[in-house]
Amino acid sequence: MRKVNRVFTALVFIFLYIPMIVLAVASFNKGTDIAVFSGFTFDQYKELFRDKHLLSLLGNSVIIAVLSSLVATVMGTAAALGIHSMRGRLRSAVMTMTNIPMTNPEIVTGVSMALLFAFVGILLRTNAVLGFWTLLIAHITFNLPYVILNVMPKLSQMDPDLTEAALDLGCTPVQAFFKVVLHEIMPGILSGALMAFTMSLDDFVISYFVTGSGFVTLPVEIYSYTKKPIQPKVYAMFTLIFITILLLMVVMNLMQARDKTKRKKAHGLQKEVGR
């Protein structure tokens, strides 16, 4: 039984990662036929970095991802603090409402946002409403629940006396937040921000509906490639993006693991003094 399990696990991993491996191998292939590996080369990476257009699209994606995750992190943290201060039933109702957008099909979110922006466009009597700002607003919106979801548990784990202790020692409520609470919930804020960043970076469906031809992100552009033959330098770019995301995830997991052992230590101590 155990053997079967192991084989099965191995198979799952192979299926999960084989596409990425194929992609990575293809990015180093000398020939253009993906079926034949005709020699190792960095040519496609060189070509990638010569392609100003592609790089500027990547730049667009990064700008949107950074800005939207930053704004969402600040707003989401503030929202989490507000939700945390609510009482039982109201709090769970609000939490459910913030969770729904995450499970809502992206295409529905995308179309409804596009409709909303079009509506606002009509009100403003302009045709060219879709672009950088609508894209940014959309990304902030779908990033918010991820930040709230990551910050909330940190707030619940925090000893509520900490805030009172800070007030007791002379902090105003604002000082108490920045000097004490913020430190306590920082791991949640960081993982929320990181998750928001990756969600934003690779979003295609929502972006496709809410941006105009003036501001295009990488995933939207690549979608159009499916209609014509893909250039091998795109493989190179994907490989780089994959590695970047992989590294980010590793950092995030390490951070969470460190936080967990820290908590365990603190918890163990509390248990010890709690007789």
Partner: protein
């Protein structure tokens, strides 16, 4: 005595229509060690939080140095708190935890250093400056919490069951330590506990609370020797509480027999509660006793035996160093000063009968008090 510092007048606190504090009237003197004592849910922590500024009373006033401070936020009060679970800041080391309040007050680093160092010495934590607070033992965290509060030189220190999480030995040490610090620094301490022994050991004044009301205020000796009602008599130490009738001054009748006592000022033939402390009872042979009964159980407690004696169906607890075997027939003698008379109260008949006494009594009581109070 010394000057009045804090006064609570007609303090009422309600949460969702439930009355947690019911017209609390209390004054606290400067440099006094005052203890709020009572079982879980009696309102003692709520009272402390009102004084600390974490709760605004529903009605009534909090006065500090004669000024009304109901609406003064916690961070502007000259009061500091030692929290039940210490609430040390995990991201700061010992030194920075203690220096926290001084840094908020924007003192010069030189002065901060001087005061933190002095405080570390007072709580015997020299050399622990750069330790993480999560790496400290419970007793050490406790000391940091006390230092962090006291370093601000508050007029009043509030302590919310600060020793509740420590083991017995450490608790005893810290009791003495706290009393020493309080006297050395000349600060008013308001201490919350459910542990009657702790209250008796440390306090200048004890305030016994139950059901949101003050049951009795007094010096430890007075509270112990002259409890006002059956609740206080039972909560502070062990008590046998019997129904009696006060015939006239210095004469009380119970169990069909008239005893002389030292109490007066009751109406003639007033029904009263009679308190007899288990350690005050003298055991004699059956024929010499004022009352005779049968021993139903004996438990060895170290210093004494807890002996349960059945007198006409009512069971008494007697603490004695003389061993009387189960089933033996014994007599007891009561001196006038062993008998304490109380007016009847809502608590009459609820306490002081040891019919349901069992050897696990203490453990059950302990389990009850470890529950968190809110």
């Amino acid at each position: 005595m010394s000057q009045e510092l804090i006064r609570l007048t007609n303090l009422v606190m309600e949460f969702d229509g439930e009355r947690i504090l019911d017209s609390i009237n209390l004054y606290i003197n400067d440099k006094e060690f005052l203890t709020l004592l009572g079982p879980s849910g009696c309102g003692k922590t709520t009272t402390l939080r009102v004084i600390g500024g974490f709760l605004t009373p529903t009605s009534g006033d909090v006065l500090f140095d004669g000024k009304r401070i109901n609406d003064v936020p916690a961070y502007q009060r000259k009061i500091n708190t030692v929290f039940q679970r210490y609430a040390l800041f995990p991201h700061l080391d010992v030194y920075d935890n203690i220096a926290f309040g001084l840094r908020i007050a924007k003192l010069s680093e030189a002065e901060i250093d001087e005061r933190v160092t002095e405080m570390l010495e007072i709580v015997s934590l020299k050399g622990f400056e750069n330790r993480k607070v999560t790496s400290l033992s419970g007793g050490q965290q406790q000391r940091v919490a006390i230092a962090r509060a006291l370093v601000n030189r508050p007029k009043v220190l509030l302590l919310d069951e600060p020793l509740g999480a420590l083991d017995l030995r450490l608790r005893k040490d810290m009791q003495n330590e706290l009393k020493r610090i309080q006297q050395a620094m000349g600060i008013t301490f308001i201490y919350v506990t459910h542990d009657q022994e702790e209250a008796l050991t440390m306090s200048d004044t004890i305030v016994v609370m139950d059901k949101g009301k003050i049951q009795q205020i007094g010096k430890p000796e007075d509270i112990y020797n002259e409890p006002k009602n059956a609740f206080v008599a039972d909560f502070i130490g062990e008590s046998n509480i019997l129904d009696g009738v006060m015939l006239e001054d210095y004469k009380v009748k119970f169990f069909g027999r008239v005893f002389s006592c030292v109490d007066k000022g009751f109406a003639p033939n007033e029904p009263v509660d009679v308190v007899i402390r288990p350690e005050d009872i003298d055991i004699v042979s059956a024929d010499e006793g004022h009352l005779c009964g049968t021993v139903t159980s004996v438990t060895f407690k170290g210093v004494h035996y807890d002996t349960i004696v059945d007198f006409k169906g009512f069971k008494w607890l007697i603490q004695t160093t003389d061993f009387c075997p189960e089933g033996s027939h014994i007599g007891i003698r009561l001196n006038p000063e062993d008998i304490h008379i109380m007016h009847k109260s809502e608590y009459s008949g609820m306490f002081g009968d040891y019919s349901s006494y069992s050897a696990e009594y203490d453990e059950i009581a302990d389990a009850e008090v470890t529950e968190d109070e809110e």
